[in-house]
Symmetry: C2
Subunit: 471 residues, 2 copies
């Protein structure tokens, strides 16, 4: 068991030589920024970790811009850290070995919408909400929705998912192809717009989830989905989280094609009630959505309502207008920020395990009991249709014993998830935080294979070094 999580920077930063900064300044002018405020803004994310900021930030506007920066970094052996929306939860953006932050947020164009093929190609800095706004007249939508309005480049790099994954899959299933700047500054394309292919190694899936350690993603080709003819959302309260989770297990095992199936524990409901001025019953709650034809939605909803009633579900409420639905789902997406406000000044240590669904009720119940016993403020939200849930422990950053307690709870939870056939991270990635867990989960042999790939594709270890594994 690898329980040690070491955030200290045990490697020396690799400073940028003057020749490199001159080359970048010559090409990028004011888009090459070294002001402390800009660097600091690019040197933190939503994780609870601290690190020195990057040495410089380059605001790229094209794949060629990114290739120029990476080629210079390769020449001078300087770390490159891709930056999108800054919403990582696992320290992916932190300049733990120094280097240049490659900001792709200005690469925000939808390049090509092929509505007939249900595909779209975007620059890496397009955010998920922007994409859905820009394609809204096509009759199509992109379902993957992590809480934050993340960029599609960042979502690809962390293999993100969200509330719709139970029906539509994660980034793993929805990225068709990528444009990637490799560690030598070359530009490759990893796939085509065909919906399936057996042509060689699956470089797309290798890059999806590689957390910037194998290349910088600059363009993303995605599957889109037809907007459902009919949508209905519902909430239902339960006396305890176990009953809620057991309802979900029954829904999945019956094959109901539910689109969203989210758990909020009582604390999370309290938080969103306060933040979004809602009047939800402050008990464990499922928040669900059904997509399909009118008849199909009615049928799914009927089945689920029966299953919920069998498990003691009460206060089953429909959100039938688009406005009501948006209000509920906006509240759900605010849950993380709302939850932080349960304890002013706190930071959150978040867990992200995902288990085979038969182990979900036990995993959630034990996590809750342990958090209560430890006396740490906490809340739980979960994409429970996938077996994925997040405990957020709200710690006082001034009290190291609280962080230690949260880490200890996280470790117990992850070890149980792994023992149950699950994973330490369903959607946030390894980053800085879970490197020991990765070895526990995948085994030394599999991690050694990952390192062989990293070494082969990035021999000078310039691509987001220190993330996934501390090389």
């Amino acid at each position: 068991m690898n329980t040690a999580v070491d955030f200290t920077l045990n490697v020396l930063p690799r400073p940028m030589p003057a020749a490199m900064s001159e080359a970048l300044r010559a090409r990028f002018g004011e888009r090459f920024a070294t002001a402390l405020a800009v660097r600091e803004q690019h040197g933190r994310d939503e994780s609870p970790f601290d690190a020195p900021p990057p040495e410089a930030v380059v605001f790229c506007e094209s794949t060629e811009d990114v290739a120029f920066v990476v080629a210079a970094a390769a020449e001078h052996r300087v770390p490159v850290i891709p930056y999108g929306a800054g919403s990582s939860l696992e320290g992916h953006l932190l300049a733990v070995q120094g280097g240049v932050s490659v900001d792709v947020s200005r690469m925000a164009r939808v390049l090509r919408l092929d509505a007939d093929d249900l595909t779209v190609t975007v620059q890496a800095g397009v955010t998920r909400m922007q994409l859905n706004r820009e394609i809204k007249d096509s009759g199509l939508f992109f379902p993957i929705d992590p809480g934050a309005d993340a960029t599609l480049g960042g979502m690809s790099a962390t293999r993100a998912s969200g509330t719709n994954a139970v029906r539509y899959g994660t980034m793993r299933e929805n990225v068709l192809a990528l444009t990637v700047v490799t560690a030598s500054g070359e530009v490759i394309r990893t796939g085509t717009r065909a919906r399936k292919s057996s042509a060689g190694y699956d470089l797309t899936r290798l890059m999806v989830g590689s957390e910037g350690t194998l290349g910088v993603i600059t363009e993303v080709t995605l599957k889109l989905h037809p907007l459902p003819e009919s949508v209905a959302a519902a909430v239902c309260s339960f006396d305890d989280a176990t009953a809620a989770v057991d309802t979900v297990i029954a829904i999945i095992q019956m094959g109901v094609p539910i689109a969203r199936c989210e758990l909020m524990d009582a604390n999370a409901v309290i938080a969103v009630n306060r933040h979004d001025k809602l009047g939800l019953a402050e008990k464990p709650m499922l928040l669900m959505e059904f997509h399909g034809s009118e008849a199909s939605v009615a049928e799914q909803a009927g089945t689920v309502q029966e299953l919920a009633a069998e498990h003691g579900g009460t206060a089953f409420q429909w959100a039938t207008t688009p406005e009501e639905r948006t209000r509920l789902w906006t509240a759900r997406h605010h849950a993380f920020l709302s939850g932080l406000q349960l304890r002013p000044g706190c930071r959150a240590v978040t867990t992200d395990c995902c288990v085979p669904i038969s182990g979900l009720a036990d995993a959630v119940t034990q996590a809750l009991a342990e958090a209560e016993a430890a006396g740490l403020p906490h809340f739980i939200v979960g994409h429970v249709g996938d077996g994925n849930f997040h405990v957020a422990y709200l710690i006082d950053p001034a009290l190291p014993e609280e962080r230690e307690a949260a880490e200890r709870l996280n470790q117990q939870l992850v070890q149980r998830a792994i023992a149950a056939g699950g994973t330490c991270t369903g959607e946030h990635g390894i980053g800085l935080h879970k490197q020991g867990f990765l070895v526990d989960e995948a085994g030394a042999g599999a991690v050694a294979m990952m390192r062989q790939i990293k070494q082969a594709l990035d021999p000078h270890n310039i691509m987001n070094p220190g993330k996934i594994f501390a090389l």
Copy 2:
């Protein structure tokens, strides 16, 4: 454009030293076979290529057996060629550089069924039909169905799909984890039973589709799906293939969750009528299946029947009993073998391109026109819901000009598919046949990255050498 397809063996075989054969004989006894008949049976597949047989065949019964063979091969730098059902269409099994065939067909146990989690773990030699027989009382099924009754190890290695992929995805989406013997003879596990994960590089997806060139797959953990409450199949005839394909495009674009959507051209229908004694109208035909609740199936079918009628579809016929459905789908799965009988003594050169669906009608129409113009007997079947179709050119193996003509047609077809944003292979893999096409499709930079991975994970090039790229 890389049109040259060179089947000549331009590398010397790497003979097995006596020390290795003695070690294998000592461990495996009669399961280490060198009889010519056994070697020849393991030295051919369903591809039109010829190569010398492997030097020996080892009938493995466990992951440890495979690891022993690979460790010996690594020590002696001898090629290892995994063998399952022998149903490859692209020469994957051919011992083009000599070596040992590792037969996993006796590794045919279902190791662990977790019906509550909708997952199963099998040994690599379990075939898809065997799996469905063994789990039939669980209320679950495994949908991926290439024509042959292939092994799940082989299906993983070629990233196979089949008729259900339009709804259930391919092996890419349905393999959760693998046990793999690496090129050094170590055993790794590439994932967990969780439905999603962001834990490090996606080794599962890297191995899926790697055609035995990165390791030998010995166990496969798969997603299963609830058996639909209701199933209905239908056939519908059209005056030309374009009308049939246009119907499919409309179905997909409307988001109808159709489970299967197959095209057979008139020649394919003639072939299955003869072989399976059916009385189908000998015109281009769609063969479809709908899965869901009774109401949902009725609704899907109604929508599709309307769309077919709008495109001139006639002779819409329902197969409502399980027996009728099985008869139709068995005929469809026989199409390749039935088609071969259209020209006794022939061999087939098969194409496998897959295009974004808006380009499908053009691709099929041009392929048909060119085959007619060339005067080569042919038939077309296609998983058209995915944009994937196969032309089989039936050539007389004694007439080299016919093979050349077929290869020329294939090249034209593939170049058009790539230009349309598609792939040279939807589900059969690269093998020996499509190495030039892979470069055309992926680009030299992406193929160079694949080679870097190959080199890193198999430095002595012993894992199925000469496949995907001629290293």
